[in-house]
Amino acid sequence: MTEAMSALLHVDKISKRFGGFVALEGIDLEVKPGERLGLIGPNSSGKSTLVNCICGTLQNETGTVTFDGHVVDGLAAHQRTHRGLARSFQLPRPFHSMTLADNLRIPLLYTVRAREGMLHAHSDLGARCHELLDMVGLAKKAKQMPRDLTQVEMRKLELARAMAAEPKLLIADESMAGLSHSEIEDILALLAKLNERGITIILIEHIMSAVMSFSQRLAVLVSGRKVADGKPEDVVRDPEVVRAYLGQ
């Protein structure tokens, strides 16, 4: 069995430029089913561009992205979501005109139904929304609007919406930025719970304590190139990472 076939996600030498600026250059990355991968790098290192290329928001210029045994290059973002690739956004992007429950109804209607061809009764959808909101501790606010939420609740809603798509791989893009220590613990516990349910997770984060405690493996991007990939304790001692990322 080839690497691409055994890995859930296989990124093979992808590059992306914006005019003269090289955002990604020949990135290779592999994520195995059930793995918890931390992806770190200084600002403008290409982390979000990589996520956007993996998720289909941007199209990579060279290289290929293989997900769950299929090359997904050229597929639109929603088609990749249907295949089991979900993400949360760095800045929460809820559907402002909808209640929390309806925010979760969208991926259930458009992804789960499209994937499984199931005709969920509306009551089933409602129950599933409630279950997901309960998982992130927002069940009591199901009928409220996103504008009524605190920052941490907004992040939890973002994760719950990604989870509603029943993904195989969840990419959490800076889900803990701007949160207090206890709130970070909350989000980490939630991510760990999701991982225990068999969901592979890529955690993109600047908060090193969170990344170190969560990740089984760490990849480091610097100026659009991957400079390290391995066990977290080895990676943080890598001289190139120390020099480029930690500024020493």
Binding site: T57, H78, F89, F95, L109, Y110, R161, A164
Partner: protein, 318 residues
């Protein structure tokens, strides 16, 4: 209330309006009523794309005119009954709506709005230079005084009024059904955040194309009987600014997030315009629209329906 029940109630209300018109025995009621109903259809159609999806279309007059000129073309080539002309108008404008959507939906905000305006200018130029449908001189459509339906003689303007009433009922039922469907949720995600919509699995391009096609089709249907109503169709009237402006202003004054908004806005603004036309002059119609728009942007930016909803929400909170 399910869609069928709503449709039946809407038909019931339509029959009541018709009975009232019969009792009134006033031709002017049919003329004025037709215009208001036409604006209900136009505003509802605009709202499918502009209100539900958040894509502002400045080219409503072009879709309306396409429907009208399709009728002129058919009338001169192979005359057909008006209901069939309405279906043809829907097909033509729906097709153009689909094409416009495909070409412009990668544009957003002001860029999309400008593209729709440009399309209207291009289509008007084509019509002005197309002699077969009258060109810049315009085309006369002599409508019969009466129409014979199964032995009953019916006044032609009443016939047009009934057709527009039926179309308004269909447009409102369609808008309300969409609002409560999976498609309606998809429209709302596009209005709120397109990137998040894609990430949630919504095929945004396809959903937007459905919106442009449906919106264009209803506008074309509203335009198809227009040559028979007005008798003389020229590009300046079919592509008139009042159609583009009213199609936007009516939903905005009524409220854009629900089917009720365009209905309320059209009745309010349409009636005011009709009153102004007979008491002052039709020249003040656009002034009324402008003043009301300014007032609503300040007092009720979410329209009348939004204002009522906010009041109700505030009352519910302890």
């Amino acid at each position: 209330m399910n869609g069928v029940k709503f449709f039946l109630i809407a038909i019931g209300i339509g029959l009541l309006i018709l009975a009232f018109a019969h009792w009134l025995e006033l031709d002017y009621f049919y003329f004025a009523g037709y215009t208001i109903l036409q604006f209900i259809v136009l505003a509802t159609a605009w709202n499918i794309l502009g209100g539900y999806c958040g894509y502002v279309n400045f080219g409503s007059a072009a879709f309306f005119a396409l429907g009208a000129y399709s009728s002129v073309f058919i009338h001169k080539t192979f005359p057909l009954p008006v209901p069939i002309l309405m279906l043809i108008g829907a097909a033509v404008s729906g097709f153009v709506g689909f094409g416009m959507g495909y070409l412009t939906l990668r544009l957003r905000g002001a860029f999309f709005a400008i593209a729709t305006l440009a399309m209207a200018v291009v289509l008007q130029t084509l019509v002005v230079n197309w002699d077969y449908v009258g060109g810049s001189r315009g085309a006369y459509i002599i409508r019969p005084e009466t129409l014979d339906i199964a032995g009953f003689q019916i006044n032609y303007i009443e016939y047009l009024f009934v057709l527009m009433l039926v179309l308004a009922v269909i447009a409102l039922t369609t808008a309300r059904t969409i609002e409560r469907s999976q498609l309606g949720f998809g429209f709302a995600t596009i209005r709120d955040d397109e990137m998040a919509a894609e990430a949630s699995g919504v095929p945004t391009l396809r959903v937007k194309l459905i919106a442009t096609t449906l919106s264009g089709a209803f506008m074309g249907m509203a335009g198809a009987p227009f040559p028979y109503y007005i008798g003389y169709l020229q590009p300046a009237s079919a592509f008139g600014l009042e159609y583009a402006v009213n199609s936007i202003a009516m939903p905005m004054i009524g409220g854009t997030t629900s089917w009720i908004g365009p209905l309320v806005g059209s009745i309010l603004l349409g009636s005011l315009q009709q009153i102004a036309t007979v008491t002052i002059s039709s020249a003040v119609n656009l002034l009324i629209v402008g003043l009301l728009l300014v007032a609503f942007v300040i007092i009720a930016p979410n329209g009348l329906v939004g204002l009522v909803q906010e009041r109700l929400r505030a009352r519910r909170k302890p």
